[in-house]
Symmetry: C2
Subunit: 409 residues, 2 copies
């Protein structure tokens, strides 16, 4: 199951990035499971990674390679495999990840530290390095600029749809193009999830600024989505700026910088929401807004408590306007000195809670009408401050249980 249309915009070429794919048979499917990105030597590369204490070997390696001084915030290759997360694999996992980087580097005449590895799939099994290495020539041989859709397919695991989006915009007669793809379906929670994202643009941006832009945009997109509250050991989102458009984005040009940020956030939110729409077993896309909070922490505390509540999520699945469960979730969110008489809760435009109880004008019909929709807005107004934040989630269906009870069998 998934929410809404599976159609995505055509994925546009970004000059300075070529992509190759291959099927190493890591997981027995006919889908490609190895993807190689080749990045122009002048490009800047930034990354954000999972905060899980058990972060996987490829995350350790990618962070380390990205920080190698002589690379100066650049990387030449991204090597992605699905089917095996190379997580919980201890020292052998590190050796295996490094080995794959070295083998790819040797074939393309680069340094191993210029290759960043990414793995997603089952945790705790050793990476089948032989299988991956054996298809590197195939992947390299298929490198093409117009290969984003194959890449989007090649990074999927339990996803039922490919995820991607492109935006092109003009600035002083020149066109800047950005294209991004993502994968993720379960184990989705802030601070990245079983989530991989690759976004490239042809603007010229310094590595430091690029890292800042990526971190900020992640906090408005990938770090605000949640399917089941579980965060993964492997999540990463990479942002590449090739400079091939000849347009330079920098803090010296705030107008262009703002324009770029707006488009980047739009693109990243779009591919993040595609993940939520394809959430495991999802039948609804649910936006939870908490406004009038004293701080971002407080707003997120409330929004996530509602978004993670199994009782709220099963009610959403049943299209049941069981607003009492939303109220109970807000009540247990742990906000200090919460004045329940002062807050309101809305389902779409329908006020469901005010003055500590069911809103006077609320009717079951009005609530049900909202709950029947495929995309639902839950809005909590705390009325105690000026901060607002938003998270996106799904409902909890039979299929979520089915997918996750059967995943390894």
């Amino acid at each position: 199951m998934a929410v809404g249309s599976s159609k995505i915009t055509p994925l546009q070429v970004v000059q300075g990035v070529r992509i190759g794919v291959a099927n190493a048979g890591i997981k027995q499917t006919e889908r490609p499971d190895v993807v190689v990105f080749e990045i122009d030597s002048q490009a800047s590369v930034a990354g954000v990674f999972t905060k899980n204490a058990f972060c996987a070997a490829p995350v350790h390696i990618a962070k380390k390679h990205l920080a190698v001084a002589e690379n100066q915030g650049r990387a030449r290759y991204l090597l992605v495999n699905t089917g095996n997360a190379n997580a919980g694999t201890g020292q052998q996992g590190m050796l295996d990840g490094e080995l794959c980087c070295e083998q790819l580097a040797k074939k393309v005449d680069a340094r191993a530290s210029q290759v960043l590895p990414f793995s997603t799939g089952v945790i705790g099994e050793l990476l089948p390095t032989d299988k991956i290495i054996s298809v590197l020539d195939t992947a390299i041989g298929s490198l093409e600029a117009d290969n984003w859709e194959n890449a989007a397919r090649g990074i999927l695991t339990t996803d039922t749809r490919i995820k991607g989006h492109s935006i092109a915009f003009e600035y002083q007669g020149k066109t800047i193009t950005m294209t991004g793809i993502s994968k993720g379906s379960g184990m989705i929670k802030p601070n990245m999830a079983t989530m991989l994202g690759y976004v490239a643009c042809d603007a010229e941006i310094s590595p430091d600024l690029l890292q800042t832009l990526l971190s900020n945009a992640s906090n408005k997109s990938f770090n605000r989505i949640t399917v089941d509250g579980d965060t993964s050991t492997n999540d990463a989102c990479m942002l590449i700026a090739t400079g091939k458009s000849g347009v330079q984005v920098s803090e010296q040009n705030p107008e262009l910088l703002n324009l770029f940020v707006t488009h980047l956030e739009t693109l990243m939110l779009e591919i993040a929401l595609q993940i939520v729409r394809d959430g495991e077993g999802a039948t609804k896309l649910v936006q939870v807004v908490c406004e009038g909070a004293n701080s971002t922490e407080e707003a997120l505390q409330v929004a996530y408590t509602v978004a993670h509540s199994p009782l709220v999520k099963t009610a959403l699945f049943a299209s049941d306007a069981n607003w009492g469960r939303i109220l109970a979730a807000v009540g247990r969110s742990g906000v200090e000195n919460l004045n329940v008489d002062a807050l309101q809760i809305y389902l779409g435009d329908v006020c469901i809670v005010e003055n500590g109880g069911r809103a006077v004008n609320y009717t079951e019909e009005a609530g049900s009408a909202v709950m029947k929709k495929e995309e639902i807005l839950i809005r909590i107004c705390l009325n105690r401050g000026a901060v607002e934040d938003t998270v996106w989630t799904t409902d909890l269906s039979y299929d979520y249980v089915s997918i996750n009870a059967d995943y390894r069998s």
Copy 2:
């Protein structure tokens, strides 16, 4: 579904407590849905209540009545209804709750403040006071000492089993008897849940000491169980000490006090675990122990993150030794500076994680053998401190979704 046997020990009479039941037809079942406890005028009564900010009208009223100075920590009647939680009902809910207390008080010649009300069921609908009041005479007319099993049945909602336990022990030739019943199945989390508990004993205990004993024992039982992480607006656990045994429990007699505490904790843990075994859709009883923590907070942070993880819970349902999901949950639990190389994770006696990855001697067969059992122990050794704590939970099954997607329909 439920875990283990549904048999409970015979529930013994506690002198000084009589119980009456009636069917008010609040929810259309043939089960009684109104229960009245009559308590001896010399008895002490203590209570612990939900910490949900949206706590229900009966919780407000029960706390207020218990605190009325002239009652001196005593109450004469407990009035329980199921089918309607009188929560999220605003000012009218308070009036309705008080009305029921007044009506009962009038019939038994007590003050309204000597009656403590308890409600559980659907949130946000006004309490059908007429229905409740109309059966008060029936409930009063059926007051009997040997009525605990009917009471246990009368307080159920989505539960599939009655829950109760009795313990009797000797001290210097005299017998102390304690009997408790509970209800709860979903919306179960620490700080009480859609959980009601009523425990009575015939020891003589001052109200202040009784309150301390109840709070402490709750933190080793009811406040350590979780089915879905949702906490309710209505939870309460009451402890009654009638004094009818003629045995006085006080701080002046530490030997007897310790003996009493041990038995009270045993009884409360038993009726708490009966709730978990009957958790909505439960097929497993799962004990999560975190040891070697620096603090109780840290131990609980880890234990609850594992216990609430939908991915861990679906793997438990599938009897899948997907230890990677346990590892990932520990990794995201938010413990500061967690050294993943120093910790171990066990499934039963089987070490599954050490040195940052899968334990060297671990085999899938050994893990599967543990996961196939109906009662499963997950033990996480952080190896950074001396504190240990435990929580109990269930798996996440199709039936959990089914029960909660259909509850109001």
